[in-house]
């Protein structure tokens, strides 16, 4: 069965699903290469939240093996407002999901992904954006059948936050107010072993580049002094 999936996923970008007697041609879309993580932004954010939070944060509650195999930064809520006691991370390496069950049948699910499919014109840009205080990114909020979802790009990755309710009349799902609170709470970030290794490589390269620039600048100064 997996072979069928693999074969079809790797099929040509466009193929006719139907015959030639009228039905529209159905496209298949190949994933784009994994998006690069903006590590400088991650490191900056990490330094800020580490300076401001008490204790290790929610990251300490995640299963280490799942966190360690995650290539991308894991967005996490600050402690205090949301219930994080049962936080559960499920990693796919280049993507993850974080389940954060709340009391009274309210579910928060966060998703992160670095692999995108090419979208048709307008698929993202036509969506209305929301700006939230203390949140830098444009947020796209959509009502779902059983709650609300928000999606945004941070550090070059795509993230989603879902709030769904067993009871559609629950205050957390009647409006997007609770979802907006959730978004503002998710300003912490966790890195597992793979992500930390990537971040370290980035830092080393940045330092090397910085050192090279310093050397070139010094050489240029020396040359101009002599002239």
């Amino acid at each position: 069965m997996a072979a069928i999936m693999a074969a079809m996923t790797g099929a040509a970008d466009a193929q006719a699903l139907q015959g030639n007697n009228g039905p529209p041609a159905v496209l298949q879309r190949r994933p784009l290469p994994p998006a690069p993580v903006q590590w400088q932004a991650v490191l900056d954010r990490l330094a800020r939240v580490r300076a401001s939070r008490q204790g290790p944060g929610v990251v300490a509650r995640l299963v280490k093996s799942e966190l360690d195999k995650t290539e991308l930064p894991v967005l996490l809520p600050r402690e205090g407002v949301l219930d994080t006691a049962k936080a559960r991370l499920m990693s796919f390496g280049d993507a993850y999901a974080l389940d954060l069950p709340q009391p009274k049948g309210v579910h928060i699910t966060a998703y992160g992904n670095r692999t995108f499919l090419p979208a048709p014109a307008g698929a993202v840009s036509r969506r209305p954006i929301t700006r939230l205080k203390d949140v830098a990114e444009d947020i796209r909020i959509t009502q779902m059948e059983d709650g609300w979802t928000a999606t945004f790009t941070r550090y070059g990755m795509v993230y989603s936050l879902d709030v769904s309710c067993d009871d559609a009349a629950a205050p957390e799902c009647k409006t997007d107010g609770f979802l907006k609170t959730v978004i503002t709470q998710f300003d912490d970030v966790g890195l597992g072993a793979r992500a930390q290794a990537e971040a370290e490589r980035f830092r080393a390269n940045a330092n090397q580049t910085g050192s090279l620039v310093d050397q070139l600048t010094k050489s240029f100064r020396d040359l101009t002094k002599g002239g």
Binding site: I4, T9, P23, A97, F116, A119, D167
Partner: protein, 299 residues
């Protein structure tokens, strides 16, 4: 609607699948008529027997005809029931190779603009017919992604609309037919009537299944599932609101989300998670189902 000539074996298959015996089972579902949801799990042997019968019909016919894909009557993707919404134009198979998400013969169509739905046109203002009307349990399939709803959906011509595809199981009976995993993946959310699976393989599609019977759900958050694995029974469960059980029609709401990137005129990419139309993928999956795909799965 598809008018491609069908091979004789496939015509036979369609006759079996659309046989009148299926349409005589049109009694109102017990859960709806009683006003209370059946909370006890449906006995496993009965369910398996029903599902196996459906699948063996497909497998045998497909095997006998030795064709790559069976066909069945269905409207083209993007063609909605007249008057049900502005529709959409983007035609992609966003989930190629998935396992059809119900382990039985099934009928993709509208729950709102079909018999029993609030907007099904009748001469009466209040009586819109029965959800068990034979019309709801017959081909052709109808796309209902982008059917009129208030929910934001940029794929829709109007900018809003239904975010998934509604699928009725083989007969008008709740808690009898299994919803199954579309792809190898991990269960990433379970609610009182919902299950979400994230695909293991890139692009890590998010599949959401709505309206399953709570007591029948076989999976928990973090479980690894294989393509075709049983998740829960298709039901009319709409959760509990203020302590009162809510019902919808008996169907599976199946939706797919993917991370997308739109390339702008300056070359920059604008990325977001988005609902995508599942209908083309479901047609393809059902054609493969009729040819035996996923028939032997479900541990």
């Amino acid at each position: 609607m598809q008018t491609r000539t069908l091979q004789p074996a496939l015509i036979g298959l369609l006759f079996i699948l659309a046989g009148c015996d299926r349409f005589t089972q049109t009694a109102e579902p017990s859960s709806s008529s009683s006003g209370t949801e059946v909370s006890s799990p449906v006995s496993e042997p009965d369910v398996s027997a029903e599902a196996s019968a459906d699948l063996s019909e497909a497998s045998e016919s497909a095997s006998a005809s030795e064709v790559a894909l069976a066909d069945f009557p269905h409207d083209d993707p993007t063609k909605l029931v007249s008057g049900s919404g502005s529709g959409y134009a983007e035609v992609s198979n966003w989930a190629p190779g998935i396992c059809f998400p119900i382990q039985s013969v099934a009928y993709a169509n509208s729950q709102v603009y079909s018999p029993g739905g609030d907007h099904y046109p009748t001469t009466s203002a209040s009586n819109h017919g029965s959800q068990c009307d034979a019309k709801n349990y017959a081909y052709p399939w109808h796309d209902n992604f982008c059917e009129a709803r208030s929910w934001t959906n940029p794929v829709c011509a109007s900018g809003s609309g239904h975010q998934g595809q509604d699928i009725r199981p083989s007969t008008c009976k709740a808690n009898l037919y299994w919803a199954i995993a579309a792809e190898d993946g991990t269960v990433t959310q379970v609610g009182s009537y919902t299950v979400a699976i994230t695909g293991n393989a890139t692009p890590h599609r998010i599949y959401r299944y709505l309206h399953m019977q709570k007591a029948s759900v076989q999976v928990a958050v973090g479980d690894h599932v294989v393509r075709g694995q049983k998740l829960g029974l298709v039901s009319n469960n709409l959760g509990v609101s203020n302590g009162v059980q809510q019902y919808t029609t008996i169907h599976l709401h199946f939706e797919v989300r993917v991370a997308q990137a739109e390339t702008m005129s300056d070359g920059k990419q604008l990325a977001a998670n988005a609902f995508v139309p599942p209908y083309a993928a479901l047609v393809d999956a059902y054609q493969r189902r009729l040819s035996g795909d996923c028939a032997a799965a479900t541990p």
